[in-house]
């Protein structure tokens, strides 16, 4: 299922003195099965954009096509509900949304809302909790008794159990320690590959965007500046600097070595790949 934006314009508090243009005539597409990164400064319109993808916000002008569902200015709740079924969203600090008396019931909340029966919802909940390495002994515990990291996993399982075609991640690693950060990103990478779903990631961490995504959309002040392959956009130093975004560590190091005369045959995609390319270069230049 693809998501297509057609001249999507989003205006906050229209016709008041506080009117603010958050998105300006954005036309672009998210293709099935790809991993997208949305990047841009705070206030560039990233959050507004993703909230338009599942009907949390409706376009002020223009249209959003979620598969065969069309969302526009006055779309009915019933149709919006269909879009929510297909587009799952993990918010920043998702552990804040837990409320049920047990872990398993909390994960079942979403699936039941979109029409799954008790048994099916339970089955999905158990499956995704296990996938996220949540210990079975915790399933009947109160979610609030868990550690912060476990609570976050439960919240994420609650979205996955709805089995959306598209998964939106809004700063999923905010507030995590570096090791949990890596584990979480690895996990989403694995889920994206194995389930073949579309993932859309919002983050400030350019290293994550570089390492995990296939495509990038760069926003600035409500305008779509660039849309294209991650390898193209995140290796464009001038572009990143212009929009005050950081150059990923590996890219920066590769370019700095290039300026020193150490040239690789291609741009490394991961740290391990860098090590491989560098040792190869070193062996080739060993006197």
């Amino acid at each position: 299922m693809n998501i297509r934006l057609e001249k999507l314009t989003s205006i906050y508090q229209e016709n008041t003195p506080f009117e603010h243009l958050a998105l300006n005539r954005i036309s672009t597409e998210f293709e099935e099965g790809k991993y997208y990164g949305i990047i841009g400064q705070t206030g560039s319109g990233k959050s507004t954009m993703i909230q338009n993808l599942n009907g949390l916000l409706l376009p002020s002008y223009g249209e959003v096509h979620v598969g065969d569902i069309t969302l526009r200015r006055r779309t009915k709740q019933k149709i919006i509900h269909q879009a929510k079924k297909r587009v799952g969203m993990v918010f920043q600090f998702p552990e804040h949304q837990l409320f049920e008396e047990s872990v398993i019931r909390d994960v079942m909340f979403g699936p039941k809302n979109i029409g799954m029966g008790e048994d099916e919802a339970r089955e999905k909940a158990e499956y995704y909790l296990k996938l996220l390495n949540v210990d079975e002994a915790l399933f009947d515990k109160q979610p609030f008794d868990l550690s912060g990291g476990q609570m976050r996993k439960v919240a994420i399982a609650g979205i996955l159990a709805m089995e959306p075609d598209v998964l939106i991640l809004d700063e999923p690693t905010a507030g995590l320690d570096p090791l949990s950060h890596i584990e979480t990103m690895e996990l989403f990478g694995k889920i994206q590959k194995e389930m073949g779903i579309t993932v859309i990631l919002i983050t400030h961490d350019m290293n994550d965007v570089y390492e995990y995504t296939d495509e990038v959309k760069l926003l600035n002040q409500g305008n779509l500046i660039r849309s294209g392959s991650t390898k193209d956009i995140l290796t464009d130093e001038a572009l990143l600097r212009e929009y005050e975004l950081e150059v990923p560590d590996i890219v920066r190091l590769t370019f700095d070595l290039e300026r020193k005369g150490i040239k690789f045959e291609k741009m490394p995609g991961t740290k391990e790949e860098f090590i491989g390319l560098y040792t190869k270069w070193r062996d080739g230049h060993a006197e």
Partner: protein, 265 residues
């Protein structure tokens, strides 16, 4: 709709009315509440209206703006007028429909009471529109200080009010976020039976309560390690500076009251 409501809102500004000491403003409004009842015929009421209108002008607020913001209150005022129109008897009978009559006294009383009510609402709205909630809290604390003798915990109440005010925007943001998060999980608040809608509120309120408790707990620790131990030995960063113009405001109010009292009939 709600964003246009003016009741209890504050509009920052630098007009003379904005700059008057909040204590003076509160006292003046209290005086006005008494003075309103001095007026008992049309010259008195005319003076009241003129007085409030010139204050509005001084505060730099437009009447249309005020009118739009107070539309809901207008219903209450019209209701009051109708009550008098139909139920106050006396004077000449103007309309006699058998099961009800409208008499001149009813119209006159209705107009007078309506003016009273409208002026009271306008003046209190002017107070909140031109005074930040924080200065209002400060002023209330200072004015109520004598109540401490009666063991009313004035300082604690003021501290609670000011922290609550500070957390309102935070909690509003949080509510919005949680509503969105649950809505993304397919929860619907807008459709279904009343019972279903009430049930849909649980996933919003529980996370909100939990987070509010957590915030309160962390806030208490933060206040404690910053040396908060109640009012004893505490100084105040905010000062209210009572100037001549503030005394003048009170004097003017009293004079206005005397004038209204003198022209009573």
């Amino acid at each position: 709709m709600l964003s246009k409501m003016l009741l209890g809102r504050y509009i920052p500004g630098t007009s003379l009315v904005h700059r008057i000491d909040p204590r003076a403003k509160i006292i003046a409004v209290l005086l006005f509440m008494i003075i309103v009842f001095f007026a008992n015929h049309w010259t008195g009421y005319l003076l009241l209206i003129l007085f409030v209108l010139s204050l509005t002008k001084l505060a730099g607020l437009s009447l249309i703006f005020l009118f739009n913001g107070l539309k809901l209150i207008l219903l209450l005022i019209i209701f009051t007028f109708m009550m008098h129109l139909f139920f106050t008897k006396g004077g000449t009978v103007l309309v006699d429909a058998g099961w009800f009559t409208i008499e001149t006294e009813g119209i006159i009383r209705g107009v007078y009471i309506t003016i009273r009510l409208a002026m009271l609402i306008l003046i209190t709205t002017l107070l909140t529109l031109t005074t930040s909630p924080l200065s209002l809290t400060d002023a209330i604390e200072r004015i109520c200080r004598p109540l401490k003798a009666l063991r009313v915990p004035v300082h604690e109440i003021a501290m609670m009010m000011s922290i609550s005010l500070r957390f309102i925007p935070t909690l509003m943001d949080e509510t919005e976020k949680i509503i969105k998060a649950q809505s993304a999980r397919g929860s619907t608040f807008m459709t279904g039976s009343l019972r279903a809608r009430l049930n849909a509120l649980t996933p919003i309120f529980i996370p909100l309560f939990i987070s509010a408790f957590k915030r309160a707990e962390e806030m208490a620790v933060a206040m404690e390690v910053r040396g908060y131990h109640g009012e004893k030995g505490r100084t105040s960063y905010r000062v209210l500076d009572w100037q001549f113009k503030d005394t003048a405001v009170i004097i003017m109010m009293v004079l206005f009251g005397i004038v209204l009292f003198m022209i009573r009939q």
